[in-house]
């Protein structure tokens, strides 16, 4: 089996599982929406604060929801001997990595689209600089998915995985949080041109973690 | 607090943190060597805590 079909196999499997169980739609998305709502309770909606900090709040919500999605991506492997089945299938570690990362990325895109709409509506955000926003979200999502899949496999199968994954992943994602928020701020309220250096940073992050993930996923997966 | 107070506090806190860490290592080392036990098993026929008959020598 060549790498491309292996990747398609894994990504397809993960997405199919999600389509059938609809955990993303019925649980993770509502979680994100509630967080968006709660921020309004925390910050006075009448004083324009929400609109100003909307980029940051959006990305924090995406980050938190991503933790759930990533945890889910690996907990499905714990059931019905899926782990052993995958290993016996003799698939290449880097292909499994890319496949799982793609599935996570697709789910994140859906999440970002819906949460983005929610934020725009609830926080009264005016959307400009769409090109910048899309470029930022693309780079950030790839980085999120890559780093998330890597740390997800690290925590997978460990008893403390629900608490370990956030502890491990959130500090690592600090640059993504920084870059994505700054780029969104520039795109929405500032000079969209200013955002491109941040997009570059996000791209570097995404490439780096994709590369590292392809190398490290295999051995980590074997050890779970 | 005066500036000098902050300075003294810094030295004291540094000493406490580092000294505390050294002590912690020393304590755990002594436990590992079997020189101290952290607990005593209740039942008389319970297996002896490996630490107390530990034969790990330097």
């Amino acid at each position: 089996m060549n790498a491309f079909s292996e990747i398609k196999l894994i990504a397809g499997k993960d997405l199919r599982i999600e389509m059938r169980s609809r955990i993303l739609l019925s649980q993770v998305l509502p979680f994100g929406a509630i967080v968006v709502l709660l921020f309004a309770f925390a910050l006075d909606p009448d004083r324009g604060i929400l609109t100003r900090v909307a980029p940051g709040l959006f990305w924090i919500t995406v980050l938190l929801a991503a933790l759930l999605a990533i945890g889910r991506a690996f907990s499905i492997e714990q059931q019905h001997g899926a782990r052993d089945g995958l290993r016996l299938a003799g698939l290449d570690g880097s292909s499994v990595f890319i496949g799982k990362a793609i599935a996570i990325a697709v789910q994140l895109v859906i999440l970002e689209a819906v949460l983005g709409l929610t934020v725009v509506v609830l926080y009264g955000v005016e959307v400009h600089g769409v090109v910048v926003l899309v470029a930022t979200a693309t780079a950030a999502t790839i980085g999120l998915a890559a780093a998330g899949t890597l740390y997800g496999v690290l925590a997978a199968g460990l008893r403390a995985r629900e608490t370990l994954l956030p502890l491990l992943l959130l500090p690592v994602l600090a640059p993504v949080m920084l870059g994505a928020t700054r780029a969104f701020e520039d795109g929405l309220e500032g000079v969209p041109g200013d955002a491109w250096p941040w997009v570059a940073l996000l791209t570097v992050f995404a490439l780096l973690y994709t590369g590292v993930g392809m190398l490290a996923f295999g051995p980590l997966w074997e050890d779970t | 607090m005066t500036d000098a107070g902050f300075v003294i506090a810094s030295w004291v806190i540094t000493a406490l943190v580092l000294g505390g860490y050294v002590l912690r290592i020393a304590l755990r080392t002594a436990v590992a060597r079997g020189e101290k036990t952290l607990f005593r098993p209740d039942a008389p026929d319970a297996p002896k805590a490996p630490m107390s008959e530990n034969g790990v020598h330097q």
């Binding site: 050890d223 | 902050f6 806190i13 590992a32 490996p50 330097q58």
Partner: protein, 251 residues
């Protein structure tokens, strides 16, 4: 039993006992010298006053933290490379990370104690402090992974890979945080002088601090490594005892 350990070139201690004692002595002497110079022999700063003396601890602590995490990464790479793989590197990596975490926490604390008299605040979103805070959590995560019980080789491999992927994040964090705060500096009112030009006795004192904390690092590593070795032995003994008990074997 010994197959569970990677027995290429195992050692129960990092330094020979005599060397260890010398290092300990030198550490104490240099800390004494640092205290003497830091608190007494060096003059108070023109701008910051006596509070500047806290830098004589804060900067060396930060230095020691970076050394420690660097060693963790190096040791992890050496473990991952098959030809140099040895339990020694695994223990070094773990010990160094724990020590690094202590120094990082200390750096943050001291930064706060310095910031209060000089800036008037217990915390400022200065690039270096923020990066150090993220570093703290990165290595906290590394140690959390190390703490997960597993077969020694599995744990060593998992930890080594974690150390490397964590380390890769460090320059990105530094760069992005620095960039962020420099962009922001246009708006700040004060200009935090974390690295003023220093000369004479003050520079000497800082160097003494760096030397003292480096020696302290070595001293702590020696102890912490030995502890790691002993506790590994305990794990094996406990495991063997448990097996023996369950199999009702001969004592």
């Amino acid at each position: 039993m010994s197959e569970k350990r990677l027995n290429n070139d195992d050692r129960s201690a990092l330094l020979p006992r005599a060397v260890g004692r010398v290092v300990d002595a030198l550490t104490l002497v240099s800390i004494g010298a640092l205290t003497f110079f830091g608190l007494w022999a060096s003059p108070a700063d023109v701008v910051q006053g006596d509070a500047q003396r806290i830098m004589y601890l804060h900067v060396p602590a930060a230095w020691a933290a970076y050394v420690a995490f660097g060693i963790t990464t190096l040791a992890s790479l050496l473990w991952l490379w098959p030809r140099t793989r040895s339990a020694v590197w695994d223990r070094v990596a773990g010990a160094s990370a724990e020590i690094g975490l202590i120094f990082t926490g200390l750096t943050l604390l001291l930064g706060s104690l310095w910031g209060r008299p000089v800036w008037g605040v217990w915390w400022a979103w200065d690039a270096r402090l923020v990066s150090t805070a993220v570093l703290f959590f990165l290595y906290l995560g590394y140690l959390a992974i190390r703490a997960v019980p597993a077969e020694p080789i599995v744990r060593a491999r998992r930890s080594a890979i974690t150390a490397v992927i964590v380390f890769i994040d460090v320059p990105i964090v530094h760069f992005s945080v620095n960039w962020w705060r420099t962009l922001h500096q246009k708006a700040t009112v004060f200009n935090p002088e974390l690295n003023p030009e220093i000369h004479g006795v003050m520079a000497l004192t800082l160097w003494i601090g760096v030397v003292a904390f480096t020696l302290l690092y070595v001293s702590l590593m020696n102890r912490r490594y030995q502890l790691a070795y002993l506790e590994e032995g305990l794990e094996e003994t406990a495991l063997d005892a448990a097996i023996l008990q369950r199999s009702g074997g001969v004592k």
